[in-house]
């Protein structure tokens, strides 16, 4: 069993709220925003700037036989083409170092970048990107995580398609089910979701003295990006400065390095500023998405509405690389039992590689998927024992001092008050609410 222990939280200091809470405050940058003066990643420019464009895979899974940039390089205005060979340390990732800055031996999803072109204008860069010859040998691909878990499935990476496996156990779930009078079993599925922030990913890299680099990027985590750029380009961290511009929406979609090492390396190679902006097509195809989950919920309950046991199996479609997949799945597992008192719990999570787009961080970080499932499931369990869904929730909801399946003991739980207030505001009348 995974046990997470934390020191008790400090007491709430009421004074800290003084001056801010309950009062209307304007955004510090609101004046710049409404007058069009706020500078976002897409707005950055520098004299003598080149434009970069990525060459992307049309195949979900293929071996790269050969990349030939000769024709692209012969086009007037093309300054540089980079491929995996130019990346000093072509691996990165948070929990799993499986991601490539540019694909090397294989591409693993449609839209994976294999080369990046820098040219005098965006028009020339876009045309030249089409002239980079990439010879592929298509490989069998897998798009369904259940199929990917079967023996003989196409292997997205060496070492099997199960990228991570997580467990939480509390009590004795088999005994719990044997004590149940009714068992409800359901499966829930959630889809891919693209963040669709209005501003696409955009960055401008400017080479500085002594091999230093400044990268302006529309990014949520400039320090993480700086350390990843330094690592993959084998540069001292002190030589890489990442400046976050105003971010035109992120929602988790700008939570990691994407185009920064490309423009950074191209700027170092050419000695000129290099700018890149993803198209909306690239945003949908080649940036991270919310992981689709398949969730099997099994819950044992007594006729009087007391929950006794719950088992949950979560299968997360990780896509071609792990990115935030293991972290989001961990958070999903921690929350999977829902905000209810259940003595016997078993949660199992599987993170599975497929040739789908890479899953990443997105608002709620794995919790919206399980939240959707356990609340739908709670309605079903309440119906199975013939109880009003509100009465059922108030009866089983977590209170102060309750212990979660992870071992955490809760304090200052306001679930009942929140639910009561929501009922008042919604004008909920049906059923007997205690």
């Amino acid at each position: 069993m995974t046990v997470i222990t934390r020191p008790a939280p400090p007491p709430v200091v009421e004074e800290a709220a003084e001056g801010a809470v309950g009062k209307r405050k304007s955004r510090h940058d609101a004046l710049l925003q409404v007058t069009g003066q706020a500078l976002y990643g897409v707005d950055m420019k520098a004299p003598g700037m080149l434009w970069a464009k990525a060459v992307r895979s049309p195949y979900p899974h293929a071996r790269i036989v050969r990349i030939d940039p000769t024709r692209a390089l012969s086009i007037p205005g093309v300054a540089c083409v980079i491929t995996a060979r130019d990346i000093p340390h072509n691996r990165y990732g948070f929990t799993h170092q499986d991601q490539r800055v540019l694909a090397d031996d294989r591409v693993r999803y449609v839209g994976e970048a294999v080369a990046v072109v820098a040219a005098e204008t965006l028009r020339v860069a876009t045309e030249a990107a089409k002239e980079v010859v990439v010879e592929y040998e298509p490989l069998p691909a897998v798009f369904d995580p259940i199929e990917a878990m079967q023996p003989g499935a196409p292997q997205v990476h060496e070492g099997g398609n199960i990228a991570a496996r997580l467990h939480i156990r509390d009590g004795d779930v088999e005994r719990g089910f044997s004590e149940a009078e009714i068992i409800v079993e359901e499966e829930f599925r959630t889809p891919f979701v693209e963040h669709c922030h209005l501003e696409p990913h955009a960055a401008l890299a400017i080479p500085g003295p002594q091999g230093t680099l400044t990268i302006y990027s529309s990014v949520q985590r400039p320090f993480l990006v700086a350390s990843d750029v330094a690592k993959v380009l084998s540069m001292p961290l002190s030589h890489v400065r990442v400046v976050a511009t105003s971010v035109g929406g992120g929602f988790g979609g700008k939570n990691e390095m994407t185009l920064e090492p490309w423009v950074g390396l191209l700027a170092l190679r050419t000695g000129r500023p290099v700018k890149m902006v993803f198209t909306r097509e690239e945003e949908f195809q080649a940036t991270t998405v919310r992981h689709p989950y398949r969730m099997r919920y099994r819950t044992g309950v007594r006729r009087d509405g007391t929950l006794v046991a719950r088992s949950v199996e979560i299968i997360s479609d990780c896509g071609a690389y792990v990115s935030w997949g293991a972290s989001t799945l961990a958070k999903a597992c921690i929350h999977a039992a829902g905000p209810y008192v259940i003595p016997h719990v078993k949660i199992e999570g599987f993170l599975v590689y497929t040739n789908n787009p890479v899953g990443g961080a997105m608002r709620g970080f794995g919790v919206p998927q399980v939240g959707f499932a356990y609340e739908c499931h709670t309605d079903s369990v309440a119906a199975a024992v013939g109880m009003d869904p509100i009465t059922f929730r108030l009866r089983n909801g977590l209170r102060d001092g309750c212990r979660l399946p992870t071992g955490q003991v809760l304090e200052r739980v306001t679930l009942h008050q929140t639910l009561q207030r929501a009922l008042e505001l919604a004008g909920w009348e049906r059923g007997a609410v205690p």
Binding site: A30, V34, H195, R280
Partner: protein, 156 residues
Amino acid sequence: MTFHLRFWLNGQEVRTEVEPDETLLWVLRERLNMTGTKVGCEAGDCGACTVLLDGRPVTSCLLLAPKAHGRHVVTIEGLGSPAKLHPLQQAFITYGALQCGFCGPGMLLSAAALLTQNPHPTEREVREAIAGNLCRCTGYQKIVQAILAVSRGEVP
């Protein structure tokens, strides 16, 4: 082959050479360095690039620059300045109608066009007027409130 484009931008005459297939959005942002007009989808879906063409809101990503020849274009830079805000700009600040702010320039121009044509719109008319401007942060509620507040003269 270049096109000699001449138009009025925020009241000032502008002359510039453009490629005939360049969009007005590109000309504003890249040739004239007016980056207040935003680029979101380049497909006419998101409305971030909205400008006023002879007073009517248009998605400048779909408008070929030569189409603006001889016409009046208003961008966010022409709506008001930090020293002299348009009432809508003040209302967007007061009502917290922006989070990331990227939809703001287009949203404000759509709203300005509405209030010029229809100074006292209903909430439904406000929602219809900004239907072509996507916002991924606010949920629109505060944007609608801000526009209605201006229409009622509640914003200085």
